[in-house]
């Protein structure tokens, strides 16, 4: 009993250390990111401006352009990562990710349909879009679930992935057909959006994303123990008295909501939900009370790094964040695939 307690304590300490380092890295990256961009600004100037001593132009660049974008990058990174962590936990599938499972594309389709029927960026849209995306993503998740489910065999993890890939391909075809009729302006918007560019870079989008983040992330963290039990397997979980189906559905809804709200603001950024939980588990172990927050931090860091790279590498033109993340994430997926049995 005592050794178990000590083990817990050691694990706690290690997790706290890892998360502290991750938090520190995010702060460092934050400072690098806010320093880099089209308009050069020295670190001293940035700090001066942050504390309210900048001139009008510096204020504008920092507070209206860079700061909201950085915050959004961190938020959506965390959302995608937690979403992926939940999905991997409840489907017993190390390769699950909202992007690969086709859920991002469902959210995307809803957004694109909205954009093609209404003009871009009307006043209400930042707040409406996460809801639309949620509906689209939810319906897609339902379709994928139904198609992957087979009586007597249940839900096979690999069939889930295959069906997800197929649905994603179908939805992207539907999007191409939809976008043909758009005027060039909207078309440009959709193109950039599909590639996964953080396009909603104003404070309005931060406030649109924040409620989802504030409600769903703590909800997921509070379910960590349940997820530990669920990841033991269906039969064990039922045996331990967990209402498996209901909990799984709730968690799935949370995962879909997290992915959908991020997609509404950041576009189709894949692979974060795949890579971040794996790295997190490697750092703090598979227990969800550690893995979930660590995933959130890794995800936030990853997207922030990717966004900074995309913004600066080919300045003044911008490479969509989703592209940078895919270049980092796809090889990792392949690595996991090669190791899988």
């Amino acid at each position: 009993m005592d050794t178990v307690h000590n083990l817990d304590k050691a694990r706690n300490r290690k997790a706290a250390l890892v998360m502290g380092i991750l938090g520190l890295l995010i702060i460092v990256m934050f400072l690098i990111s806010i320093n880099s961009g089209e308009i050069r600004m020295g670190p001293a100037q940035v700090i001066k401006t942050l504390f309210g001593f900048g001139d009008a132009k510096q204020n504008l660049v920092l507070f209206d352009f860079r700061l909201p974008r950085i915050i959004i990058a961190i938020l959506i990174g965390a959302c995608f990562a937690v979403s992926g962590c939940i999905m991997q936990g409840i489907t017993h599938n190390g390769l699950a990710d909202p992007g690969i499972l086709g859920i991002n594309s469902g959210a995307g389709l809803a957004v694109v349909m909205y954009v093609s029927f209404f003009p871009v960026k009307t006043a209400a849209s930042p707040f409406l879009m996460p809801f639309l995306a949620f509906i689209g993503a939810g319906l897609t998740a339902l379709v994928i679930y139904l198609l992957a489910f087979k009586r007597h065999q249940g839900l096979s993890p690999t069939r889930l992935l295959l069906v997800g890939i197929g649905i994603a391909a179908g939805i992207s075809a539907a999007m191409i057909i939809l976008t043909i009729k758009l005027d060039p302006n909207q078309f440009q918007f959709v193109q950039v959006w599909i590639a996964g560019s953080i396009w909603g870079t104003t404070w309005k989008f931060v406030t649109a994303l924040l409620p989802w983040f504030i409600i769903l992330i703590p909800f997921a963290f509070s379910k960590a123990k349940v997820m530990n039990i669920l990841s033991l397997g269906e039969q064990t979980a039922t045996g331990l008295g967990a209402p498996v189906e209901r909990q799984r559905l709730l968690l799935l809804a949370a995962a879909v909501g997290l992915a959908a709200s991020s997609v509404a603001v950041g576009g189709g950024i894949g692979f974060v939900g795949l890579v971040a939980p794996h790295l997190a588990r490697r750092l703090v172990g598979p227990q969800h009370q550690y893995a979930l927050p660590a995933s959130a931090l890794v995800g936030g860091l990853l997207v922030l790094v990717a966004d900074t790279i995309g913004r600066t590498i080919s300045s003044p033109s911008e490479i969509a964040t989703g592209i940078v993340v895919a270049v980092i994430g796809a090889p990792y997926f392949l690595y996991l695939l090669a190791r899988s049995r």
């Binding site: 197929g166 179908g170 592209i323």
Partner: protein, 346 residues
Amino acid sequence: MASELDKSSSSPPIKSRPVAASLILVLGLIGLGLGIAASISFGAADIHLATVWEAVFKFNPELTQHQIIQELRMPRAAAATLVGAGFAVAGAIMQGMTRNPLADSGLLGINAGSAFVIVICFAFMKGLPFMSLMLFSFAGAALGAGLVFGISSLARGGLSPVRLALAGAAVSALLTALGEGISIHFRIGQDLAFFYAGGVAGVKWMHVKFIIPWVIGALAVAMALSRSITLLSLGEEIATGLGQRTGVVKIIGMIVVFILAGSSVALVGSIGFVGLIIPHLTRFLVGVDYRWIIPCSAVLGGLLMLLADLAARLVNPPYETPVGALIAVIGVPFFLYLARKQRREM
């Protein structure tokens, strides 16, 4: 053990329906003729069939309609037919050789590899002649396939259809992302837009003429190889038992696939699912003998592309719907059906 030996030593019964196959070939060729005629005469400006006839056999360069037919419509129809046949036969060969029902040059990262290398050519070697572009495209096809098969074979449990499909999706995502990044960095997006959409709209005669010998040559080799592919499709052990040199057959087969897929992608961009649907349909119709499957796939693949291209023009005029997207609308449900049927796990 004994019964297994028996099975492999006696020539295995190969279910095939030569009559149905011949019928498909004849009807398919007639269909292709009609399709080409329709493809040439329908469009933004409808042209009478008699004019088409004249444009082909009594070409008068002063008539606009003759110009349209010679410069726009004919290469387009020819390209659709060739590319459809190319993708379909590439899919048939892969499905037969690897015994993988989910094989398709789009799904296995081959098209993405071609497109990626073409992006690199546009970025670093501007003004490369089409001939060299096509050779690079072959190399790209090999690169994509090499990555997908290499990574899948690293895994314990070997090459399963599901793992190949997953690796294909990830490799495609990676190569497409890299390609997009490069095209943004070098500002060549506009030149390349057609590769991502996939279409036969802007095809030029000059380019079509380049790929004709390659596609026809590759189809001929595929035909010569068809008996061996049939044996391979029964299983590696059986093929070896019957005296096949499976390694050689596989290498030649893959080269044929690279040529077919690579030249098709160089001409029209990445179009998936033709190579998935057509061989399955053909196998259903004519049985499992690849001596019939390959020619029938070629004819039916050409027909599918011709019709899809025609539909792309007629669905929403005056806009053109990308052919790749239209085919995906048919292809995805079919893929889902196959994915549900998959019994083997990773």
